[in-house]
C-alpha cells in the first residue's frame, strides 16, 4: 500500500542522492569558480564581483603558448599510450589465457605507489649521470636522439620528451583497461565468421575487431587525454622552464601569485577547450553511444 503510493516518486527518490551530490560538489564549486573568474581586485584589497571579462582575454593572451603546449603534449601522450596500450590490451584479451587476471593486475600494479613517487622515480632513472643515460651515451644512442631532437645535449630531463614520456607512462593503464574491456567483450564467433568469409587475419582485425573495440579506444583516449591536458606534476618534476603546461600556470596563479580570478578564468577556458576537443573527436569517431 505504502510502496504503491510512493511508486511514481520512486525514480526521484533514487535520483536524489546523486542529484544532491552533484549539486553540492559540482554545481556549487562551478558557480563559485565562475563567479570568481569574473572578479576584480587583489587578495590584499579583496575581490569584488564585477563582470570582469577582461580576465579571460588577459589570460588567453598571456598563456596561449602553455595552452597549445598542453594540448600538444596530451595528444602526443594519448597517441603513444594507444600505440603501446592497444596491442597490450589485445594480447591480454586474446592471448592472455589463464594469465589474463595476472596480466591485468600487472597493468594496475603501478597504482599501488603514489603518482608523485612514480614520477620522482623517473628523475633518478633519467638522471644525466645515471646508468641508463650513461649507457645510451656510450653506445651512441644519445647522438642519434640528439640529432632527432628527442634529447638535448645528451640529456632527457628538462626536455619535452621527459614530460610526454612520463605522461604516457602515468596514464597508460587508463588506455589499456577500457581497450581490454571492449576487446574482451567481442563475440569470438564474429571473428570466425570473418575467416569463413575469406577474411585474412589482417582484414578480420581491421573490419571486425578494431571497429568493435572503438568504444574502448574512445573511452581510453578520453581517460588519458583529459587529465593529461590539465596535468602539471610531470612538467613540474621532469620538465624545465620551456615545458610548463597550463596546469602549472593555474597552480602558480592560485597558490603563488594569489591571482584567483585569473586562475579561475584559466580553468574555465581549459574546460571549454577540452569540451570542444572531445566533441570534435566524438564526431570524427562517430561513436554515438559515448558522444
Amino acid at each position: 500500500m505504502t510502496i504503491g503510493r510512493l511508486r511514481p516518486l520512486l525514480p526521484y527518490i533514487l535520483l536524489a542522492p546523486g542529484v544532491a551530490w552533484l549539486a553540492v560538489f559540482f554545481v556549487v564549486p562551478m558557480y563559485t569558480l565562475a563567479r570568481q573568474s569574473l572578479n576584480d581586485g587583489t587578495l590584499e584589497t579583496g575581490f569584488r564581483f564585477a563582470w570582469e571579462w577582461a580576465n579571460y582575454s588577459d589570460v588567453v593572451d598571456r598563456y596561449q603558448e602553455q595552452f597549445i603546449r598542453s594540448f600538444r603534449y596530451a595528444a602526443t601522450a594519448t597517441v603513444l599510450a594507444f600505440i603501446i596500450g592497444y596491442p597490450l590490451a589485445y594480447a591480454i584479451a586474446f592471448r592472455g589465457g589463464r594469465m589474463k587476471s595476472y596480466l591485468l593486475f600487472l597493468v594496475v600494479l603501478p597504482f599501488f605507489t603514489t603518482y608523485l613517487i612514480r614520477t620522482l622515480a623517473w628523475q633518478t632513472i633519467l638522471s644525466d649521470q645515471g646508468d641508463v643515460l650513461t649507457t645510451l651515451r656510450d653506445i651512441g644512442v644519445m647522438d642519434i636522439t640528439d640529432s632527432l631532437g628527442i634529447s638535448q645535449n645528451g640529456r632527457v630531463l628538462a626536455t619535452p620528451t621527459a614530460v610526454v614520456m612520463a605522461i604516457t607512462y602515468n596514464f597508460l593503464p587508463f588506455m589499456v583497461l577500457p581497450c581490454y574491456v571492449s576487446l574482451e567483450r567481442i563475440d569470438r564467433r564474429l571473428i570466425e565468421a570473418a575467416h569463413d568469409l575469406y577474411g585474412g587475419p589482417v582484414r578480420a582485425f581491421l573490419r571486425v575487431v578494431f571497429p568493435l573495440s572503438l568504444p574502448g579506444v574512445f573511452a581510453g583516449s578520453l581517460l588519458t587525454f583529459i587529465p593529461a591536458v590539465g596535468d602539471f606534476i610531470n612538467a613540474e618534476i621532469l620538465g624545465g622552464p620551456k615545458t610548463q603546461m597550463i596546469g602549472n600556470v593555474i597552480q602558480s596563479r592560485f597558490l603563488e601569485v594569489n591571482d584567483y580570478p585569473g586562475a579561475a578564468a584559466l580553468s574555465f577556458i581549459l574546460m571549454a577547450a577540452i569540451l570542444v576537443a572531445v566533441l570534435v573527436y566524438a564526431r570524427l569517431l562517430g561513436t554515438e553511444e559515448l558522444a
Binding site: Q129, A158, P241, K242, Q244, E256
Partner: protein, 386 residues
C-alpha cells in the same frame, strides 16, 4: 663537522619540509597540504573565546623543524606560560592567503606570534596587520645583530624581530664545473649549458642576478627587474637554465645533474655533510640575505606573553639551543660564544656564524609596495613559465 651528523638532519628536514614537501603536497593533488590543513585547523581561533589579555598562555605559529625540542618546555618552566607551538606555516603566500581575510576584517587569528620571511613581513606591516612591539618587554632585543637592526621594511624594528636568517648564494660542484666560481655571472658560462638551476623564489633569483649586473637589490626598480628578467630569459631560451626549482636543486646537485645552482646556505651545509666536494659560493658581487621574522598579529590575545617569548629566545644562552638545532644564521649576538657549551664545532662554521665583513656584503631585497610586488611578480612568473 665530524661527529655531528645527527644534528645536520633537522635543518635539512626543516628546509625540505618548508620549501618542497608542501609543494609536493600541492602536487600530490593537495594530499599532504590537506593533511596539514586538517592537522592545524583546530587551532584557528580556538583561543578567541576568553578574550582576557592574560600571561597564562601563548600561541605560536612557525615553520616546521625550526626549533629544538627543549626551548618551548624551558620557557614554560621559567615563566609558567603555557605555550601552544604549531608548525603550520609552510609557504608565505599560502599562509598569507589564510590569515588575510580575518586580519582584514579586524578579527583575531588566534595566534600571538607568526614567523614570515622579510618581504611578507613587510607586506604585513604595510597593511597594518601587526602590533607594534613594546621593547620595554624585550630588553634582549639589543642583542639583535647590528646589520639587522635597521631593515628597510621595518626601520628600527618596531614590528618584527628576526627568528633565523640564511644566505642565498651559488651552490656548485667544482668537479663538474671544472673550475672555482667567483662571480654570480659565472653561472652563465656556456660550458655549463643545461646544468644550471635558479630558484622559484623571486627575490632570491632576481636579487642575485641583479647583483651580478651591478644593481643593488635593495634599490631595485621595475626597469632593473625587467633587465634581470630579460637576461635570464635569454638563458632560458637557449636552454642554458635547466629549471626553476624550490628545494629540489639539492637532489639535482647531489646527483650531478646540476653543476651550479642558486642555493640556500642551510641546504648547502647539509649537502656538504654528504658530499664535501660541494661548495657554496658567496659571490664577489654580494649575495642575498633573508630572514624569517617574528611578528605579533593585530589583536593578539597574549601580546605581553609573546614579547616575553621573544625576549627569552633573544638571550644568547637560550638562542644557542635553537641555533644548534636549526643551523641557520642566528640573529642574536653572543650566540657564537654560548653555543660552545652546546656544540663546539658549530661556532667555527662561517655559514652559521658569518663575520661582520661577510655580513656587510649581504644584501636584502627591496620591500616592494603592492603595485611593485604585482609588477615584479608578473615579470618573474612569466619568466619561470607560469
Amino acid at each position: 663537522m665530524a661527529g655531528n651528523d645527527r644534528l645536520w638532519l633537522p635543518s635539512w628536514r626543516r628546509r625540505f619540509t618548508r620549501r618542497r614537501l608542501l609543494k609536493g603536497g600541492a602536487l600530490a593533488a593537495g594530499g599532504l597540504a590537506a593533511a596539514a590543513f586538517v592537522g592545524c585547523g583546530g587551532d584557528d581561533g580556538s583561543d578567541n573565546g576568553g578574550g582576557t589579555p592574560a600571561l597564562d598562555s601563548l600561541n605560536i605559529s612557525n615553520w616546521p623543524y625550526y626549533i629544538d625540542a627543549d626551548t618551548v618546555a624551558n620557557f614554560q618552566d621559567e615563566t609558567g606560560i603555557a605555550v601552544s607551538y604549531t608548525q603550520d606555516i609552510n609557504d608565505n603566500n599560502e599562509f598569507f592567503a589564510k590569515i588575510n581575510e580575518p586580519l582584514n576584517r579586524g578579527q583575531n587569528i588566534g595566534r600571538d606570534i607568526v614567523v614570515l620571511t622579510d618581504w611578507m613581513a613587510g607586506k604585513m606591516i604595510r597593511l597594518g596587520y601587526v602590533e607594534e612591539l613594546d621593547k620595554a618587554n624585550i630588553p634582549n632585543w639589543e642583542n639583535l645583530s647590528e646589520s639587522l637592526k635597521d631593515v628597510s621594511f621595518d626601520p628600527g624594528r618596531k614590528y618584527s624581530l628576526v627568528w633565523q636568517s640564511g644566505f642565498t648564494g651559488i651552490g656548485y660542484n667544482p668537479e663538474l664545473t671544472g673550475r672555482e666560481l667567483k662571480s654570480v655571472n659565472d653561472i652563465f658560462d656556456p660550458e655549463f649549458a643545461g646544468h644550471v638551476t635558479m630558484l622559484t623564489e623571486m627575490r632570491d633569483t632576481l636579487g642575485l642576478v641583479m647583483l651580478g649586473m651591478g644593481v643593488d637589490p635593495a634599490e631595485a626598480r621595475l626597469a632593473d627587474a625587467q633587465a634581470a628578467v630579460d637576461k635570464i630569459q635569454e638563458y632560458v631560451d637557449n636552454g642554458h637554465i635547466r629549471a626553476f626549482t624550490g628545494n629540489e636543486y639539492g637532489d639535482d646537485l647531489a646527483r650531478g645533474d646540476v653543476w651550479a645552482a642558486i642555493a640556500w646556505s642551510g641546504d648547502m651545509i647539509q649537502l656538504q655533510a654528504d658530499d664535501p666536494n660541494l661548495q657554496l659560493l658567496l659571490p664577489e658581487e654580494g649575495f642575498m640575505l633573508w630572514s624569517d621574522n617574528m611578528m605579533i598579529p593585530k589583536g593578539a590575545d597574549h601580546k605581553e606573553a609573546a614579547e616575553k617569548f621573544m625576549n627569552y629566545v633573544y638571550d644568547p644562552v637560550n638562542q644557542a639551543l635553537i641555533s644548534a638545532y636549526v643551523q641557520y644564521i642566528s640573529p642574536v649576538q653572543g650566540t657564537k660564544d654560548a653555543i660552545r657549551d652546546v656544540d663546539d664545532t658549530l661556532a667555527d662554521n662561517p655559514l652559521i656564524f658569518p663575520d661582520e665583513a661577510t655580513l656587510a656584503r649581504a644584501h636584502v631585497f627591496k620591500p616592494l609596495d603592492e603595485d611593485e610586488d604585482r609588477e615584479f611578480n608578473e615579470l618573474f612568473q612569466a619568466l619561470i613559465g607560469a
